[in-house]
């Protein structure tokens, strides 16, 4: 298996078959050893011993991929943090912004929504009628920021620490999920692309995206491996962190539909955990500010309102901007690119429920009438990275993608002050 897996991506279906058979045999061995006769127990013991020898002789897939994961994380974060430090030192591009932001390290990574999350962590929710309110921001991330307070970290610092460590966890989780969709080499490429994705500077800002990505991918990976309790917990965390997190319920429900009768209740429970956590967020906002969907109502003050003609309004807004608003064009371009990458992912046989989930993450925000921030929302559409991995199959394409994405990542980080992600 190990020798096949280090080979080209063409043998992916063979590999997956072998992998599945290996999983089955491993699960069969234990019952024989526990329940069988002395002879069969001895035979199973030998099988196990041989298997252990083979397993311990070679590192596991994840162990083998860890250097890639750590390298991608460290290199991409060095790019982001380094760029943030340089632009802050140069007071670029808006010197006046830095005058108001103060001299905190990595102040640009604590801008925009990071300020709202910090206010929620420090002061809790307050729904100010007819005005932008912090109820629009989900509570999991600010609550987690408060967990780090006893360690002596300020809310500014804890947000950054959580986001950057969250990305490391996300890379591990995305790898574990991607190896169930793609050949191992492609799964490795996909985590490099997660780390280098142009809007990926958000994963270093005091935003919940990296943790939610980790939770969504982790829930999927756990569900594929039938670890339903873990999948339920991670799905709940995803939904409590960002509204997009609830869409992990789609692939979990599809996996539940294929589960055996014995597993079905646990699988259904895992799928229902994300909507249940969303309901918990609603209950919390009902208790604190008196409005269970305050998070949705607050969006109106940012000009977002769901309507059946929302996508039409979004396109109209884009056409009306007609080159005056390059940032809107950036968000629209990324939305289109994400959609195309989802199509590529579908063609490489990423399971369709994940494609549906990714489409919902990219397309549904457009129903609020704007492309604004869709480039950031789409970061959580996991099959996008599988699509990128497919495009980067040849060495030359992979190198070109890495260089282009790294440059865009640096450019995006340098212009955070200009426009919110």
């Amino acid at each position: 298996v190990a020798s096949l897996q280090t080979g080209s991506g063409r043998s992916s279906s063979t590999l997956r078959t072998i992998d599945a058979k290996f999983s089955q045999s491993a699960s069969i061995i234990r019952p024989i050893r526990l329940r069988g006769s002395a002879a069969s127990t001895a035979q199973a013991g030998r099988l196990l011993a041989r298997r252990r020898l083979r397993l311990h002789g070679q590192p596991s897939q994840l162990e083998a991929a860890l250097p890639t994961i750590l390298g991608a994380w460290a290199a991409s974060r060095a790019l982001v943090l380094g760029t943030a430090a340089v632009v802050q030192a140069l007071r670029w591009p808006l010197p006046a912004w830095y005058a108001s932001a103060g001299d905190r390290p990595f102040a640009v990574l604590q801008a925009w929504d990071a300020r709202w999350y910090r206010v929620v962590a420090a002061r809790g929710y307050l729904d100010i009628p007819h005005h932008q309110s912090d109820t629009a921001f989900f509570p999991f991330f600010p609550a987690l920021m408060n967990v780090l307070r006893p360690l002596g970290l300020s809310s500014w610092t804890s947000g950054l620490v959580l986001a950057n460590l969250g990305l490391l966890a996300a890379l591990v989780a995305v790898y574990e999920l991607a190896v169930t969709w793609l050949p191992e080499a492609a799964a490795r490429r996909s985590i490099v692309y997660v780390a280098l994705v142009p809007l990926g500077y958000v994963f270093s800002m005091a935003y919940p995206e990296s943790l939610v990505l980790a939770a969504m991918a982790g829930a999927g990976a756990a569900a594929v491996r039938r670890r339903w309790a873990l999948a339920a917990a991670l799905a709940a965390l995803a939904a409590a962190g960002r509204p997009e997190g609830v869409f992990v319920a789609v692939p979990l429900a599809a996996l539940a539909a294929r589960a055996s009768r014995a597993e079905l209740p646990r699988a259904l429970a895992a799928a229902a955990s994300a909507p249940a956590a969303l309901a918990a967020v609603a209950a919390y906002e009902r208790v604190v500010v008196g409005d269970p969907i305050a998070f949705s109502h607050a969006q109106v003050e940012w000009g977002r309102r769901f309507s059946p003609l929302g996508i039409g309004h979004a396109v109209g807004e884009l056409l009306h901007a007609s080159g005056n608003n390059l940032w809107l064009a950036r968000d629209a371009t990324f939305a289109v690119v994400y959609a195309l990458l989802l199509l590529v992912a579908y063609r490489v046989r990423v399971p369709w429920p994940w494609i549906v989930s990714g489409l919902a993450i990219v397309v549904l925000p457009l129903e609020t009438g704007s492309f604004t921030s869709d480039a950031r929302f789409g970061l959580l559409a996991l099959p996008v990275y599988a699509g990128l991995a497919r495009l980067g199959e040849s060495r030359r394409a992979d190198l070109a993608l890495r260089i282009a994405m790294a440059m865009l990542l640096v450019g995006g980080t340098a212009t955070i002050v200009d426009r919110w992600p």
Partner: protein, 186 residues
């Protein structure tokens, strides 16, 4: 048992999520909550002007809302000030009482003349920063509108939260204005 588990696990997840955020996030202070109620009351009514008491002089001020969420303040002795959000512009400089005494002056008259939208903006700014300050005084409450530089307090009725007066205090000037509410005005 299996069906019960299918129901209980999501409930448990929801319960854990709720408990986690409930335990770790602070609740707004009572001052924040009270200031919100005052804000809500301010958005329901109009202030047509005020009677400013300033170093022994009494000045009548009228306030009218203009297009584009601007407010025009007309002082009885001829001065006119336009307020937009928290920005104050002098339109006609005629015998402004305070301008003679302060280099950046007409903000005091603007604060005292009853520009409702200015009060709303100042209160929202304090709420957004969670720095609402409320103090009881007799049958009224003093709600802090501005604390940086001059201190401006809105005096509201304890029973109805109706704005009654504004108090202005800086290093060189202390003044008070009685607000007139009505159907028209700012």
């Amino acid at each position: 048992l299996a069906v019960r588990r299918a129901i209980l696990v999501p409930l448990l997840a929801a319960g854990c999520a709720f408990t986690f955020v409930f335990a770790l996030l602070p609740r707004p202070s009572s001052a924040d909550g009270f200031a919100l109620r005052v804000l809500s009351r301010l958005e329901q009514l109009r202030i047509s002007g005020s009677v400013i008491h300033l170093r022994g002089a009494t000045i009548i001020a009228r306030c009218n809302e203009l297009h584009g969420r601007r407010e025009l303040i007309s002082l009885a002795h001829g001065g006119r000030i336009v307020v937009r959000e928290t920005h104050v512009h002098l339109v006609r400089r005629q015998r402004l009482t305070v301008s003679a005494m302060q280099p950046a002056p007409f903000a005091a008259e603007a604060d005292l003349a009853g520009p409702r939208l200015l009060y709303v903006h100042e209160l929202i700014g304090r709420e957004a920063a969670r720095s609402a300050a409320v103090r009881a005084r007799g049958a009224t409450y003093l709600v802090r509108l501005s604390g940086a530089g001059p201190r401006v307090d809105l005096v509201v009725s304890r029973a109805t939260l109706r704005p009654l007066a504004v108090e202005y205090r800086s290093r060189v000037l202390t003044a008070r204005a009685t607000l007139v509410t009505g159907r028209r005005g700012c």
